[in-house]
Symmetry: C2
Subunit: 457 residues, 2 copies
């Protein structure tokens, strides 16, 4: 083992970035604008501000400023859990017997257990700045809801979380963390909203869906004075906030003179991936460097590898604006056997454009292979990874094994977005040997894509 590069590269607090990086400013082909779902015209700042905080609406539309200052209050909060370590996976390398050099950026060392807190605190801050009383949101697996409840607690904002009913019932621990941070958690669909009551009437006993929870959260935000809706992924503003992951990663690599060859991130709505790769893609866009960027998604929800690049609704309830993105159709539902997150039908518009323009590639992996990688990783690196993050681990291990064959000393960097403490029922399935794989058929995907809205490009 090299004595020069430590196991964990911790930057100092002074090295926490003071600005987020907005990759759109460096893109020749900008992501397509969000469209008003009624008029099909580009959303204006005024329209966006009815749903989102004004500053966040501005960030959503900002395609020109490459760097946006991180307010001091947010930087102070970041200091509670950042800089996040960039870890050299010496033990994994040794276990695999690979000449590859593997690094991972670990975002799990905070109570929300994931990178979601990076954007939650920013969104809570701007809500507070605007003098709002509170925010609403939806959560599925629960990472985003937990992160937002922590952020709101810090700024003394009310936080109303609509939690997909089946998760609410199956993940009581997640619910209790949110309650401990003072959030109210409502199982969705609920009788507190019009859309919820409608769905309950049509589908009594339903376990709910993310799409329905989004609709309830948006309705509550727009009907309650002093509230706005916030979202933990997909949006360009979220990608902006998450750029702190990539900026810190790049600073740490540069500090030790390490040049990454390949950067791997898991992809659901794209929040982590967009943040991790942003400054590296920026270098590619400015033709300063070249990297192999790999997005990894579940084979059971293959948005990037089998979807189409088109305008679609961001939510199942079709109350949100339309985005041009890789999508499987807003009606696509991944198999119930799929564990964890990464189950969104669409993808961050910025990332979608970058994929379309060839700046990154996408791969899909099956979940038993993902948990196998998770277990190998946990046993030698000591961190129990979230199922989502383990998609990136799978491809990192596969690539490292290829290097073992070729002898190439490739430098691989991947994003370890979070921990799996709240996913142990999925680990149990894997440990018990009863976890399955599910790959949607071509017919199923074609049927969902068939229903895409017809929008002129």
């Amino acid at each position: 083992m090299s004595e020069k590069i430590p196991y964990k590269i911790y930057l100092s607090e002074d090295e926490i970035p003071r600005q987020w990086y907005n990759v759109r400013a460096d893109m020749k082909n900008k992501p397509a604008p969000l469209l008003n779902s009624k008029t099909l015209q580009p959303m204006t700042h005024a329209e966006l501000s009815e749903v989102f905080c004004e500053e966040l609406a501005a960030q959503e539309l900002n395609e020109t400023d490459a760097y946006i200052d991180i307010p001091k209050e947010i930087r102070d909060f970041y200091k509670m859990y950042r800089p996040a370590p960039l870890i050299r996976a010496y033990c994994l390398e040794e276990k695999l017997g690979t000449p590859a050099k593997i690094y991972y950026k670990f975002e799990g060392n905070n109570t929300s257990g994931s990178h979601k807190l990076n954007s939650a605190i920013a969104q809570a801050y701007y809500a507070k700045q605007q003098g709002l009383v509170g925010v609403t949101t939806e959560t599925g697996a629960g990472q985003w809801g937990t992160a937002l409840s922590m952020a709101c607690s810090y700024f003394d904002l009310d936080c109303k979380v609509f939690m997909v009913k089946v998760s609410h019932d199956q993940k009581p621990f997640r619910r209790e963390v949110m309650r401990t941070y003072g959030a109210s958690v409502t199982p969705s669909p609920s009788d507190t909203t019009e859309v919820g009551r409608k769905i309950l009437a049509e589908h009594p006993g339903t376990g709910g869906s993310l799409g329905c929870a989004i609709s309830e959260a948006v309705e509550t935000a727009t009907n309650t004075p002093g509230y706005r809706y916030v979202l933990g992924s997909v949006l360009n503003q979220v990608a902006l906030h998450q750029s702190i992951i990539g900026l810190e990663t790049k600073t740490a690599l540069d500090k030790y003179g390490i040049k990454a060859d390949m950067i791997i991130g898991c992809a659901g709505g794209g929040s982590n991936l967009a943040g991790l790769v942003a400054p590296f893609v920026g270098e590619m866009l400015r033709q300063e460097a070249d990297y192999q960027i790999v997005a990894v998604e579940p084979a059971s929800c293959p948005t990037l590898t089998r979807g189409v690049y088109a305008y679609d609704y961001c939510d199942t309830g079709k109350v949100c604006p339309l985005a041009k993105m890789y999508t499987l159709g807003s009606g696509f539902m991944p198999s119930a056997s799929h564990a964890g997150g990464l189950r969104y039908h669409g993808m961050c518009p910025t990332l979608s454009q970058l994929l379309a323009d060839g700046y990154m590639e996408a791969r899909s992996v099956e979940q038993t292979a993902v948990f196998e990688a998770a277990e190998i990783f946990a046993r030698v690196e000591g961190i129990l990874p979230a199922p989502e993050s383990s998609h990136a681990i799978r491809v990192a291990i596969d690539e490292a094994m290829k290097c073992k064959e070729t002898g190439e000393e490739k430098t691989i960097v991947f994003g370890l977005t979070g921990t799996g403490y709240f996913d142990l029922m999925s680990y149990k399935k894997f440990n018990d040997g009863v976890m399955g794989d599910y790959i949607p058929g071509d017919d199923e995907i074609a049927a969902a894509i068939e229903k895409l809205p017809k929008v002129e490009k």
Copy 2:
């Protein structure tokens, strides 16, 4: 906020201590020796080696070497999750409006979620060194079992965990982490041991106890070739390994010229407290400095505040050696309403002697007050603390509030031993307002102490 002292003081990996500190070497009054439960004579190295690894038996008896080298293999493992940060609780100070300066040493940033890993990896290493096949242990709340399964996985040792049946059934997540790290987890009492079968015959349907699980683990270790028993607390060897907590804390404080006035730790079997305070008590013993050292225990299991200092059995099954320690009697069982760990009837012999000699004081706190402190802390510091650790938080907050009255700028350091991700059912009780307090009556304690073995001092 001071710009000089960062939120988190991270030492570099080079600053991880290379030696553990053995406080017994500096004690004028040594802790009393362990006694053979049959002969009542001091345990010899040969006797201890029938149960423990030889090197660990030697460490258990070592009262002369103040510093013991940490083998390189253990230091390499420590680098996966250490140095642990010493965190300045700026946000808590602001929330309380106190002039006190509060620091906490956070040991929860590893998958076992607690400080237990510090000793688990040492014990697994020495077992491997001795050429053993595996180790056995017991676990109650599950932190120790998790830590040991991680350590054994790293050194490719078999790990057999006897988990108190009621915890095994109520904490499936803990069980699954251990299984993910390759450990076998047996609910105790089980039919795999003689003592287990005996207890099952006498008490069909029992939920088990830590004492019973210890007896099963010891029986399995002594009856299976190539196995030894390991223990996560109480023993002097564990206190030795945990000294890394205090050594890092002291290095971090010294680096920034900070002099602690008061050091607070929670106390169950004493593993965390002994480690945290060791180098500070060392200075007191050598008359180089003075500190106020406070042990905090649950009012429902008040070993230090209401127990006696006497020889007692370390386990309910009376198969282990006797130790002279503060004890409530090995038959004492804390109320079922008590959440989390810190439910041991005795206390580390080293700490017991230090308390008897006046080098520290002990306080007991009630559990609703503990969870109240935990929630205040979680909301402003962003870390969801373990119930055990929250005992120290309670006293730290109480002391900080006293400073608010007096205006004293006291420097308070406390040990945050771990995270509460697996304790959310207890948080739920607190959030739902159905958590109670339980203080054992004088009669109950007198009855348990009455049954102490009669041993000449």
